[in-house]
Each structure stands twice: as C-alpha cells, then as structure tokens.
C-alpha cells in the first residue's frame, strides 16, 4: 500500500482539514521554539520544553481570551455560506452585555434583592408566549383535528391570551417583587440577542436589503443603542457570570499526576478527556458496524485502530496540558461552552436539512428555491443566529472582564470574518466548515498570543495578522484557480484518481477533462 493512501485512510480522507490543523500546530510550535530560544543557555531541544507558548496557563488564557470570537465565527460561517456577511455582531454583543448587566438587580447591602423597574420584561415575554401558543394551538387544530381555519384561529388566540396573560402577570409581579437574578439576566441577554437577530434577518430575508447594508446599519444602530442605554457607564456583573466567562471546572477526588505547582491533575478535566475518547471510539465502531450492515466497503480494521490511538494520544495530551495547570484551574468553562457550540453547529451543518439548506442557498439560490427550500427562511435564520451567538459571546466576554463597557465588542465581527475565511470559506458562498472556521480562528488567536509572548507591539501584531489573512486566502484562491479544490486538494485528487474504478472506459475520463476545460 502506498504511504499516501495509508495516511488518507487513517485520517478519513478529508486532508484539507488536517492541513489547517498542521498549520495551527506549526504556528504554535514555532512560537514555542522562538520564545524558548530567547531564554539564556537554550538549545533547540530545551527551547521546545521551556518555551512560553505551550504551557497550561497560556493555553487556558488563549482559550478564555478567544472563545467568544470563535462562537461568533461559527454564526458568521453560516451567514458567509449563504453568501451574505454580518458586520454587526460586535455592536449586538455590546447591547446584549449592557442589557444583561442592567437587568440583573443588584443585591441590597443586607443580601436581599431590591425591587426592579424591569417588570415590563414580563409583559414582553407574555406577549411572545401568547403568540407562540396561539400559533401552535391553531396549527395543531387545523392540521391534526382538521378544523376550519377561522375557529382554529379563535381557539388558538383565546388559549394564547390566557396562557400569555398568566405568564405576563406572574412574571411581571415576580420581577417587581424579587428582582431579576443573574440567570434571568442571562436569559434576557440571550433573548435580546435573538430579537436583534430577528430584526436583522427580517430586513435581509423579507425586505431584501443586502446583508452588508442591513448589518452595516445594524453596526451603527446598535453601537448607538449600547451607548444610549449604558450612558458610557461600566457596570459590574455578579459572580456566577464571571464564572461563565473566566471560571474553571471544580477539582475533586484524589490528588495525583503532575502539574505546574504540585497540585495534581484536575480531575474534571481528566474525566472530560476520558469521556471524549470513549465517545470517539464508540462512534468509530458504530460507524463500522453500520457500514458492514449496509453491505458497504468497510475500511480495514487497522486504520480504525491507528486512527483511534492517534486521536487518544492527542486527546490525552490536551487533557494533560489543560489539567496540569496551577491549583484551581482546568479546561476553562468558556472552552466547554465552545466545544458544545461547535458540536451542535457542526451537527446542524452536516447532518440536518437546515444545514443542507444553508449550503444549497449559498451554492445556487435559484436552484435551491426550485428544490423546495424556503430560501427566505434560511437567510432569516442564518442572520438571526449570528446575533444570538453574539449575545452568548457577550456574556462570556463580560464575565471574563467582570463588567460591561461602551467599547465592548469593537472589531469582533472582523476577527470572526477573518477566522471563517482563513478556515476555507468562499466569499461567493456555498463553501465552509465549522471545524475549518474554528481552526482558522485558532490560527489567528495563536498568532496574536505568540506575538504578544515575544513582546511584539500591537502595531506590528496587526500588520502581521492582516498579511496572514491576505496570504492565506490568496493561496487558497490561487490553488482553486488552478482547477484544484484547494491546496491539499491536489494530493486528494491524485488519490481519488488512483482509486478510480477500472470499469470506467476512456470516454468518461476524456469527458471529465473536456468539461473541465470548457
């Protein structure tokens, strides 16, 4: 067996993603070496050990300091796949941050909650619930009980009014009496993000204002809203939110294993690592079982074993890296949120009709419409989703910096856009992956972090980042213009050609070449 084929079988064929990972690892190792060599009496080998880049604390900081941008990048990815762009998430995040901070009622000195002037939130929630119940009840009656539209609507409205009214009354008086707790603030913040998203999505999808314009307007509008609501104040947020943005998993159980300060490995991190490895192994073997049940080609067992061993080694190392930090640190909470979001959205992108719809709309909007996809709904959801995730990002960021301020979120959208494009998305839409965007974002984050560790000023950092974005996309475009799917696609194509089945006559091969040349 040829070595390239063996590698491709172990990695599962998708070499491009691994190329991006290789770039990321390369960036990290180079900075590790460079920062290590700066220390006195260092050789290449000691530099690799003593560099500042790969240390538990630095890696934890890197995640904490960038997770929020990566969360936005995932939302941005979907918008970019549809062929649009969102320039507003930074401003939306600023609004969410200030709304959340102001909604949470500060405790009185005696520990009780003050009454809150935010009782009207209850009314808004009530109206929303009323509408949702009315639509749900009405539709159910019409579809499943085959009722006529008018009576179904009336019954729905009545039900909605009753339920919504009760919710509004209860919630408003509860807020008035007990104030809003931290989690209430988080919900209000996420709700505000989603509502702003719906606003942006509606302008794009149903009125037809291009996303660039809608969100450029949104960027100005919501920055203004932030300053108007917050009056340029900086408002602190309570402890639980600070935990979301900068906290670590608890430690428990026996002290064992190495760490930087002798406190042992963080057992929560170890547990996470073990679970991850088990889940990956289970999925791998379930896939094999499914393939053999469907009587399809099952790759040889050794490829699965080698792949799993490699993955386990990587996961094990990461577990060690994040778990061996100083006492009280672990794999960060923001990292956990990021992982959850990545898995969820990757599932949506690859396994659901919604995800397929997003790619279809971006690839060819007209064809998507004639295939039965509600293109307006796709635009709406993609756009609304970015603002929702911007709200989540705001909560993570505000938690880490412990208070909100008027400059929150400035420039986040650009970092997110850069991450998505470095991750291989196309400006014209239809192309891009969640993992690619995350790797793209991590490449930018590592560059930032490494340059900072080297003591390079933010002026030069910006110059280098700009050039990296330009060169990364240029290389990708160049390799695409050469008729190859991507840089690594060249290798991939050769592999595919070798795999080509013998039953295809010369007609097909000539045919493919002829079309490619047209």
């Amino acid at each position: 067996m040829k070595p390239t084929k063996a590698i491709s079988q172990i990695l599962g064929g998708n070499l491009r993603q691994y190329f991006m990972v290789a770039v990321l690892v390369g960036v990290i190792v180079i900075f590790q070496l460079v920062t290590g060599l700066k220390q006195p009496h260092s050789s290449l080998l000691t530099a690799l050990v003593h560099g500042k880049m790969i240390s538990p604390t630095n890696m934890q900081n890197l995640l904490n300091g960038n997770s929020y941008v990566l969360v936005i990048a995932i939302g941005m990815l979907f918008v970019i796949i549809t062929g649009q762009i969102d320039l507003a998430p930074g401003s939306v995040a600023a609004v969410v941050g200030i709304v959340m901070a102001m909604a949470i009622t500060q405790r009185n000195p005696d520990g009780t909650f003050a009454t809150s002037p935010w009782w009207w939130i209850g009314i808004i929630v009530g109206v929303a619930v009323a509408l949702a119940v009315a639509v749900a009840v009405g539709r159910t009656l019409e579809r499943h009980r085959h009722m006529k539209r008018a009576p179904a609507l009336v019954i729905g409205l009545v039900a909605g009014l009753l339920v919504g009214g009760a919710v509004a009354l209860g919630l408003a008086s509860a807020i008035n009496a007990f104030g809003i707790p931290w989690w209430g603030g988080v919900l209000i913040g996420l709700g505000a993000g989603a509502a702003i998203g719906a606003w942006q999505g509606a302008w794009l999808a149903y009125i037809g204002v291009p996303g660039f314009i809608t969100t450029l307007a949104g960027q100005m509008l919501f920055r203004g809203v932030n300053q108007w609501i917050g009056q340029a104040r900086s408002i602190p947020v309570p402890k639980p939110i600070q935990y979301i943005g900068g906290g670590y998993l608890p430690d428990w159980g026996p002290h064992w294993g190495p760490s930087v300060d002798g406190s042992g490995l963080n057992n929560s991190t170890v547990l996470l690592g073990v679970i991850a490895i088990l889940v990956i192994a289970t999925l791998e073997f379930r896939q094999r079982a499914k393939l053999s049940r469907a009587a399809m080609d099952v790759p040889p067992l050794w490829t699965s074993v080698v792949r799993l061993v490699l993955l386990a080694l990587v996961m094990g190392y990461l577990t060690f890296l994040f778990g061996s930090g100083p006492k009280g640190t672990s794999f960060p909470i923001t990292g956990c949120i990021l992982v959850a979001i990545v898995l969820t959205y990757n599932f949506i992108a690859t396994r659901t009709t919604l995800g397929r719809g997003v790619y279809a709309v971006g690839g060819n909007r007209i064809a998507a419409g004639l295939t039965g996809i509600d293109t307006k709904k796709i635009y709406f959801l993609a756009m609304a989703n970015v603002s929702f995730l911007a709200g989540l990002a705001a909560i993570m960021f505000v938690g880490r910096s412990r208070s909100t301020g008027p400059a929150d979120g400035t420039g986040w959208e650009l970092d997110a856009i850069a991450a998505v494009f470095i991750g291989g998305a196309a400006v014209s839409g239809g192309v891009g992956t969640v993992f690619g965007s995350i790797i793209g974002g991590l490449v930018m984050a590592s560059l930032n972090n490494g340059l900072y560790l080297m003591g390079i000023g933010s002026d030069k950092q910006k110059m280098i980042k700009g050039l990296v974005l330009l060169v990364a996309v240029a290389i990708d475009l160049y390799s695409k213009s050469q008729g190859r799917p991507s840089i690594i696609g060249t290798v991939q194509r050769n592999l595919q050609q070798r795999r080509k089945k013998p039953d295809l006559g010369s007609t097909t091969t000539v045919a493919t070449a002829g079309t490619a040349s047209n």
């Binding site: 279809a360 690839g363 010369s506 000539v510 493919t512 002829g514 040349s517």
Partner: protein, 540 residues
C-alpha cells in the same frame, strides 16, 4: 453550394487553399488524454463544422487554437495562413486573426453596443477614446452582420440572437480571418438561428473562414462545407460536403461510433384516465403588470401519458410550468389544479413536491444544480425528507439511495462523491433528472431535458421518460425541438403568447402543423377541448 460571389473568384475545381492546419495536436490533462494526435485542416472561405459528443474534445481543440491553452501546454503544430503559430494568450491569437466566440457570451449587459464592441480594443489615441470614430466603425460593423440597432443601445436591451451577432461584429472589428463559434445557436430560436446561419454564409462569401461547433445536426448539414467528427479525443471522420451531401445519420454514426437505428426509443403507450388537470390558469408577468404570461390556460395529463408542450422561447411554456410548480414564477391571478379530481393548492415549491410534482428546469446550471455539491447531495436534495428522521439526515441511507439512482440513470461518475461540476453536460443533466426521480413524482415536468447534451445522452433521457410513463406516471415535456416532441410524446399542446393554441395527438402532428400553431393565433379558433372526464363542463 457556394454563393455566386465566390464562384467568380474561385478556381474551377472550387477548392481553396488551406488556411489553418493543426497537426498532431495532443493535450494531456492530469491523468487523462483529452486530445490524441488530432489533425485538422480548414480551407479558406469555408464553414467547417466540428461535431462530437459532449466531452469528445471539441472545446479543448478550439481552446488550443485560440490561445486559451498557451503554447507549450500541448504537443503539435498550428499553421495559420502559411505560418507556424505559437499563441501565448488569447490576445496573441486575436492579433494573428483568429477569434473565438464562446457559448456563454462575453458581453457586458450594462454597456452599450459600441462600448462592448471595442472593449479591450478601443479606438484611442494615448488612452483617450475617440467615441465618434468608434461609433462610426460600430455602425459599419453592424451593417456587415446585417444588424439594424442603435449602437448606443445597452446590450441588456437586445435579444440573445442580436447579442450573438454583436459578438460576431466585435470579432470582425478585430480584423479576424478565422472565426470560431462554439454552439452559436444553442440559445437561439429557429428564426434567429436561421438568420445567424444566413449571416455566416454571407460573411463566407466575403472571405471569412469559420469553424463552428454545434450539436444541431440539421444546421451542420445545411451550412457546413466540411465536417470533422471527433470522438474520445481523436478525429474519427472527415467529411467533405462538396463531394456530396451528407445526411445526419452519417454524422451521428461517426459521433457515437455505432448506428443509432432510431433516435427515439420504442414506446408503446398505456394511457389511463385523467389524473392531473389545470383549468383557466392565469399568471401575470412578475415585472410587467398587465402582461399575462399564462392566459386562461387549461390542459390535462392522463396516467402513463407523455404530453409535449411546443412553443417558441418566451411563449409561456416555462412560465406555465414554473407557476404550476409552487407558484415559483410570476403573480398568480387565478385558476385551478385538480389532482385525481380534487382541487389542490400548491402555494410553495415544497407543497408541489409533497403533492407529487417534479419540475426539472430548463437551465441546469442556473436553476437545476448547486455546482459546488457532490452528486450524492444533489440527488437527494429535492426528496431529502425521504432519508430524514425529524430533519436529521441519515448519511448511510443517502449514500445508498444516491448509488441506486446513479446506477439507474447510468450517470458516468467515478463515485457519488464527486462534485457535479466535474461531470459532462449530459451527465449533469442526468443528475438533475435523478434528483427529481428520487422524489418519486406522479407528474414529472421536464423543461428542455435534452438541451445541449449529445445524441447518446439524449437517447438515455428519452428512455427514462418512457420508463416513467410505463410506471403509470404522467410526464410533461417542454421542448424547442419539434422532432423530439414528435418522437417522444403521445399528445402535444402548442403555446403562443401565453395561450394554449392547439392540442393534437403526436401521431397526427407534423413539424409544419405545430410550427403554424406556435407562431400564429389567427387560425387558433379551435381551443383545446376540456378533459374527457369533465366534458359536461361548459365550453369557455
């Protein structure tokens, strides 16, 4: 054969010197030989046709000749007007007098005729354009292609036929002596095509040599002086038309390498009762208020029946199909759809698909395919709910289903994981058809299902249509090619200016009778009869 003006200039044996000689051309793409030792000789002042199936290597050969593939990327020699040529770019070939007009026109819609004609070739002194001189030469060139339009008209206001002529005028403006046309009539209606061919004949008489790639064999037989047939990257036949007329069958035989005993597969109709009926369907143009693209149209389809819709482009065939298919075109004003006798509402494409309709659009690249997707995702895209549980796609079922339809449709692709844009036109079309077959429709509407695909692929599409009818489904086939409608359909409606002007059993129809109904409503007093099951209905 030759025009009068030429016979006076020509020697008695009517042969002219060879203007272009391409010798031993071999072009290799990574892993494939696209052209294998191709020789081509074109005589001056002739129209030389090049035929071949999609992917045979015609376009590759022309791209080499016009410098799209620069010298050095292929083996072989090009000799033009007696001189060895080595074109490094399109510009170099244009300077030498060779111009190519691609299938997709390269005109800029917002710019005027004059601006388009001289783009990249401006009449200028030191970078300043002399618009008066440009306009004068534009008028001159327009006259040479017999086009009477104001040179200040924006291109977007012209029809495709006129645009094609502007492309030719543009090439003439570059003093081209050899004009290459890649499928010049594929987007034109019959009148425009005939006009274009006349212009080419006229230009030939004035000394222009043309090479024409075309799938329309009747045109080739009508206009070409010489025909070169390419198959699998090799020249398989060279036919000198002056030696005697050739029939289309001979060209087809050369193209596919075997005898096609018939261009249409045998089909024994088993026609059942009416199951799909449209009454009084009225739709307004999306942009032009008051213009009815469907004007009280009524028709019906019976089980197992293949119904043809004949009409010129813009007559309202596609508009009718798309407005039925989930109101995806125009503004719906009125009308009724009956499925199995019961009225149904199809307000969205999704509703239409769920009701069992399928619409295979006329332009596969613009309306039918996401060219970034692989074959697998494309095939399941319209019927995705069939492999889903609560919106989550079962990827294994997807692969199995796609593979099944790839086999069924005989799609030539190394696997269902390849990207559709890498397939040849005919195979792309089969993918689009497969996508709609996967929804298992009761009524399949196929809009120009064989446009721009080669003879072999056409035959396969016809076979599929027959299969559908055999399974008791209804098929509506829209086509601009009358022989195809006559060969495939059981019953044919003609459409003119948004009205159904006639309906005839295919056995009773001729190209001439259909063409009359497609172009003239004057004698269309006999409106089509309503469906037999509902004959008690009042005539409108």
């Amino acid at each position: 054969m030759t025009a009068l003006s030429i016979t006076t200039e020509l020697p008695a044996d009517q042969t002219t010197p060879v203007i272009l000689e391409m010798a031993h051309i071999t072009k290799v793409f990574p892993g494939v030989v696209a052209l294998d030792d191709v020789n081509l000789a074109v005589r001056a002042r002739t129209i030389h046709a090049i035929c071949g199936e999609n992917g045979a290597g015609k376009s590759t050969l022309m791209n080499i000749l016009s410098g799209v593939y620069p010298t050095g990327t292929y083996d072989g020699q090009i000799r033009f007007e007696g001189q060895e040529m080595a074109f490094h770019s399109i510009r170099a070939s244009e300077d030498a007098g060779v111009a190519i007009i691609h299938q997709e026109l390269a005109l800029i819609p917002e710019l005027s005729v004059t601006e388009n004609m001289f783009i990249g070739n401006e009449v200028a002194t030191r970078g300043v354009i002399d618009w008066i001189a440009a306009r004068r030469s534009a008028l001159d060139l327009l006259a040479r292609v017999g086009l009477d339009v104001n040179p200040d008209t924006p291109i977007k206001n012209l029809g495709v036929g006129q645009q094609q002529l502007i492309e030719i005028a543009k090439a003439l403006g570059k003093n081209c002596r050899l004009l290459i046309l890649d499928e010049p009539t594929s987007a034109l209606n019959e009148d425009d095509s005939a006009n274009l061919l006349d212009i080419l004949r006229g230009l030939k008489a004035k000394g222009l040599t043309s090479i024409m790639i075309s799938h329309k064999l009747n045109e080739i037989a009508a206009i070409a002086d010489a025909i070169t047939v390419i198959r699998d990257g090799r020249v398989v036949e060279h036919i000198d038309v002056t030696a005697g007329r050739v029939d289309e069958d001979r060209i087809i035989r050369g193209m596919v390498g075997r005898d096609l005993s018939s261009r249409f597969p045998d089909h024994t109709p088993h026609i059942g009762e009416v199951f799909f009926e449209v009454r009084d369907w009225t739709v307004e143009h999306p942009q032009i208020p008051g213009k009815l693209v469907c004007n009280h149209e009524s028709f019906y389809v019976r089980r197992g029946e293949i119904v043809g819709f004949a009409g010129l482009m813009g007559a309202g065939r596609t508009e009718l199909a798309r407005s039925l298919f989930g109101r995806s075109y125009g503004t719906f004003l009125g009308g009724e759809i009956l499925l199995d006798g019961a009225p149904i509402e199809l307000p969205t494409v999704k509703a239409a698909i769920d009701a069992g309709l399928a619409y295979c659009p006329e332009d596969r690249k613009i309306q039918g395919l996401n060219l970034l997707d692989d074959v697998k995702k494309t095939i399941v895209s319209a019927g995705i709910d069939r492999i889903c549980t609560r919106s989550v796609i079962d990827l294994d079922e997807e692969a199995v289903a796609a593979e099944e339809y790839r086999r069924k449709m005989n799609i030539k692709a190394s696997s269902v994981d390849v990207v559709v844009s890498t397939l040849s036109g005919g195979n792309q079309q089969k993918v689009v058809v497969a996508k709609w077959m996967f929804t298992e429709p009761v009524l399949a509407i196929l809009d120009e299902p064989t446009r721009g695909i080669d003879v072999g692929a056409k035959y396969e599409i016809y076979t599929l249509i027959n299969q559908l009818a055999q399974e008791g489904k209804g098929v509506v086939m829209i086509s601009s090619e009358l022989p195809e409608l006559l060969g495939v359909c059981d019953r044919i409606y003609t459409v003119f200016e948004g009205r159904i002007t006639s309906v005839t059993a295919a056995a009773d129809a001729t190209q001439e009778s259909l063409m009359r109904q497609m172009t003239d409503t004057a004698d269309a007093t006999a409106r089509p009869a309503p469906a037999p099951n509902h004959s008690q209905e009042e005539p409108r």
